[in-house]
């Protein structure tokens, strides 16, 4: 029974449950990183709550020795909202998949983001429905052949970060299952953000969509394909950071840094107008590198804080309610003994 946070280690967050993901699944790496980062956040273990929807990712809470809630498909943002409003002192982390969050749960996701409820959302994007055995998902590329699309899928995929930016999310980041250090940093950044923090984690489903992010994780090629974002730093990538991004009339262009000079390269700004972040969200391989890191981090009051402030204000203004006051208000009259 640990109430202090001092002694917490990764082991404190592990459960006895057998981990039931497929061997080789990217989910393992994410679990490990979360278990490593949680003990460092200065939060008592009992104040963590992990809430998930349904999917392979949905099993996550069972493997975290915290309070956990494996809810129903797509609705985790709503459960988490109800919890956080009532228990603002808890650190609420939501785990979801690309299907859970963007297919059945798309609406709850965009609403929680616009409300900016103080939650941390980790979206495991494997571009497939894993748990139901491999149908295409809302993030699968057009033409994907799966059991439900033998002639190839037709739906233009969502770019998850584009969707969440459309909803004016206050914190938007992306990381990769195979980049543990980067992931740890993103988790910490999310934790520090007051409001809804959304992290898309590219996650390999080695059973139904193996190698979907191979171009980003391939040790040799990844410097060419990853664009690591750093606030205040120019948008550089390539083996020797020799390539940069500039924008002309909203259109990104890859340029040779030597040619244009470092000063010409666009400097990343987490607080820039949303359209800039939207541009980054639209970057698609192979034409452009894939941005990794915090795209956007801006401040806006959190819904749960504001609601609880209203409660306090009402108490201040009218005094704490009691039943006598409650019953005796309204239009009343007395009937006397006759």
């Amino acid at each position: 029974m640990t109430t202090t946070t001092e002694a917490l280690t990764r082991a404190d967050f592990q459960t006895d449950n057998d981990v039931r993901w497929c061997p080789g699944c990217g989910d393992y790496a994410i679990l490990a990183q979360v278990q490593r980062v949680f003990p460092t956040l200065g939060i008592p273990r009992e104040n963590f709550v992990v809430i998930s929807g349904i999917g392979c990712s949905g099993r996550f809470p069972y493997y975290m020795n915290t309070y956990g809630f494996h809810t129903i498909h797509g609705r985790a943002p709503a459960f988490a909202t109800g919890l956080k409003i009532n228990r603002p002192e808890l650190s609420v982390w939501m785990i979801t998949g690309d299907g859970d969050s963007l297919s059945i749960g798309g609406n709850h996701l965009i609403h929680v983001l616009r409300r900016n409820v103080d939650l941390k959302i980790l979206m495991f994007n494997n571009q497939i429905y894993g748990l139901t055995k491999g149908q295409y998902s809302p993030t699968s590329e057009v033409g994907k052949r799966t059991k439900s699309t033998p002639m190839g899928s037709l739906d233009h995929p969502f770019k998850p970060l584009s969707v969440v930016l459309g909803a004016e999310a206050t914190f938007v980041a992306r990381t990769i299952d195979r980049e543990p250090k980067h992931m740890a940093e993103m988790l910490r950044r999310a934790n520090d953000h007051k409001g809804t923090a959304f992290i898309e984690i590219y996650q390999n489903c080695n059973i139904f969509n193996d190698g979907a992010f191979g171009h980003l994780t391939d040790r040799k090629g990844k410097k060419e394909t990853q664009l690591t974002l750093q606030h205040g730093e120019p948008l550089l990538f390539g083996k020797n950071q020799e390539k940069g991004i500039v924008f002309r009339n909203f259109a990104p262009e890859v340029v040779d840094v030597e040619e244009v000079g470092l000063d010409a390269i666009h400097v990343h700004d987490e607080q820039a107008p949303l359209a800039y972040h939207q541009t980054l969200a639209q970057f698609t391989a192979p034409e452009l590198p894939t941005p990794i890191g915090v795209l956007r981090a801006v401040e806006r009051p959190a819904y749960d804080e504001m609601l609880n402030a209203q409660i306090e204000a009402a108490v201040d203004r009218r005094g704490r309610g009691d039943l006598t006051k409650l019953f005796n208000s309204g239009d009343t009259w007395v009937v006397g003994e006759r």
Partner: protein, 623 residues
């Protein structure tokens, strides 16, 4: 605003004695949406209450927000019954109809019985207005109303005359005509004006000319009655024998709001409402959002699924989770309610039923969501159901719903209906001290803890708030291992858990009261009802009993599980009839459970029962 029933408000002694005495009277005010009929009715109601009558009211809103003036769709009505005995319903048929325009007349004549009095604003019966609602001939000029006593009053023009001295514009002046009409009706029933005069003074304090005009119109209407001698009779409705105390007029929805706030106070839990607007449940959302100083958190969600899910999230956090809606919303919430059943957390789902199926007739009442409440989820997911029988009872049953949810760690369905939600009654304000606390014990003991260990009596599992050190655990919708709550696919464990969840709900019967039998404990006919049909059933039963018929009435507030005495009771009657505003839903549940050939008295018209409809069936069966 509290007033005391006393001498100052009594009508002039002279008049008190005048008029024919009536046990009860039914009045309906009807006019255009803009004519202020709801207000007029409310003011009459309040005066009746102050005079000491018992009463019941029912507003009848148009389906459209603002239907065009003068159309049938735009007619707004308010009916009330007041009397010197216990009043159970707003009345079958009005004794007096006040019709402010042809549309109001047309919409309401069918509701009248031979001999009723109709007060019409004859000024409004222009050719254009008549043709607008499809009257080819002026009904005041043919004999189509010959069964009634029609009083043609120039309400508009007399009002304009009466308030001329105030100097309002003509159309503003004319808008006072509802007070003229109210004054007239006050005179008919020997009612005092004081309360209404005071109300006007308070309401329009900032615009003295409105105070003057409206008061003048009210008085003018009253005096017109006195002087014009157009009434054959005036009536007197003496005060009722009412339990002394402080009263407050409440609608069902208002009582529901107070009930849930009270449950939260009695349990010491913060109340959380997750809701998505839908008429007529929205008023509960509106009401509760005004009680923030009671720690009530309201959340207007993006849809019903989010609303119920947030309420479950709140319950997981240790708050009292509530979600309010109407039928279509319940249809959407089924999956999440099933989850609450599995994770065994308290949750209240309040369904203010209206006429379905689908969008149906969303402004009309019905009781057709009972089978959905009991069976409307996949898998074996037993759900307790309670239903208040009257507007004021919503208060008590809301508390009961919370008590059962908390005590048994389960979702509970609270079934109200449009009829009681909008209907109003006087409510004897309780003393908070008299209300029983709801016991809540959050588990904190680490030793021996298992998430699914159970109270031996109620079978409830412990409620643990996240944040409690050492009790970290995980819940979810997959089948749980008994005791540990771990995911389990074990066949016998599943059967055990299914049976345990069912048994837990069945055991609720231990902690709910027996159903009251009104009348003899055996006899020829047992009338069974639930929800808002109470008043009509009780009134009919009393009428039949007075006529010496062996009829008893059992009204059920607990529908799943049923009280223990229901089965034995119904076997002591020759006939058992379940009366409900649906195609026979409680009847089905009871036939299955008791194998008794229960008959149905069913009305599916979006309207409440009339006492006479019930009497007709009683007569048919016992004649």
């Amino acid at each position: 605003m509290t007033q005391i029933v006393g001498e100052t408000l009594d009508p002039p002694a002279a008049q008190q004695g005048a008029g024919e005495e009536r046990e009860s009277v039914v009045i309906r005010f009807a006019g255009d949406s803009g004519d202020g009929m709801q207000l007029t009715g409310s003011l009459f109601t309040h005066t009746a209450a102050l005079v000491g009558n018992d009463l019941a009211t029912l507003p009848d809103f148009p389906a459209e927000i603002r239907a065009p003036a003068g159309t049938l769709a735009g007619v707004s009505g308010f009916q009330l019954q007041f009397g010197s005995t216990k009043i159970f319903t707003p009345g079958d048929a009005p004794d007096v109809l006040v019709a402010m325009n042809p549309a109001a007349l047309k919409r309401n004549t069918d509701a009248l019985e031979r001999g009723a009095t109709i007060v019409v604003n004859v000024d409004a019966f222009t050719e254009r207005a008549l043709s607008r609602v499809g009257y080819d001939v002026n009904p005041l000029e043919d004999d189509s109303l010959s069964a009634f006593q029609v009083l043609e009053v120039k309400l508009s023009s007399m009002t304009i005359d009466a308030v001329e001295h105030v100097g309002l514009g003509r159309s503003d002046a004319e808008r006072c005509k509802n007070f003229f009409a109210l004054g007239l009706v006050y005179w008919m029933y020997g009612r005092p004006l004081k309360h209404t005069l005071d109300w006007i003074a308070g309401k329009f304090a900032k615009t003295p000319e409105y105070v003057e005009a409206n008061q003048a119109a009210l008085k003018a209407g009253y005096h017109y009655g006195e002087t014009a001698e157009i009434f054959a009779h005036t009536y007197r409705v003496p005060a009722a024998q009412i339990e002394p105390g402080l009263y407050r007029k409440v609608t069902g929805n208002e009582a529901t709001v107070m009930g849930f706030v009270t449950a939260s106070q009695l349990s010491g839990l913060n109340l959380f409402l997750g809701s998505y607007p839908i008429t007529p449940a929205s008023d509960i959302l509106h009401g509760l959002s005004n009680y923030k100083e009671y720690g009530v958190r309201t959340f207007q969600a993006e849809d019903e699924i989010a609303a119920v899910s947030a309420a479950i999230g709140a319950a997981f956090g240790g708050s009292l989770g509530l979600t309010t809606t109407r039928g279509p919303g319940v249809s959407l919430k089924g999956e999440a309610i099933g989850l609450a059943t599995m994770i065994e957390l308290p949750l209240i789902i309040a369904n203010i039923q209206r006429a379905g199926p689908s969008t149906g007739m969303p402004t009309k009442t019905e009781q057709a969501d009972l089978l959905q409440a009991v069976y409307g989820r996949h898998g074996e997911s037993p759900t307790p159901v309670v239903a208040p029988a009257s507007p004021t009872e919503c208060f008590h049953m809301a508390i009961e719903a919370a008590r059962l949810a908390i005590t048994y760690m389960t979702p509970v369905m609270f079934l109200s209906d449009g009829y009681i939600a909008n209907g109003a009654e006087p409510w004897l304000v309780p003393d908070p001290e008299d209300l029983e606390p709801i016991e809540v014990e959050f588990h904190t003991e680490v030793e021996g803890f298992h998430p699914y260990m159970r109270d031996p009596e109620t079978l409830a599992r412990p409620w643990v708030r996240p944040g409690t050190p050492g009790l970290e655990h995980r819940i979810g919708g997959l089948e749980k291992e008994a005791l540990s709550g771990d995911v389990s696919y074990d066949p016998h464990n599943h059967e055990h858990m299914i049976k345990t969840r069912a048994e837990k709900i069945a055991r609720m019967a231990n902690s709910i009261p027996d159903a009251e039998v009104f009348g003899e404990e055996e006899g020829e006919l047992l009338l069974i009802g639930w929800g808002g049909t109470f008043g009509a059933l009780r009134a009919a039963t009393m009428q039949a009993q007075r006529r010496g018929m062996k009829v008893s009435h059992m009204h059920l507030r607990y529908l799943n599980p049923l009280p223990r005495n229901v089965g034995p009771t119904l076997k002591r009657f020759t006939h058992v009839v379940v009366a409900e505003l649906n195609n026979g839903q409680l009847r089905r549940l009871m036939r299955d459970e008791f194998l008794v050939d229960i008959q149905g008295l069913n009305k599916i018209q979006g309207l409440p029962f009339k006492v006479s409809e019930i009497m007709a069936r009683i007569d048919e069966l016992l004649a």
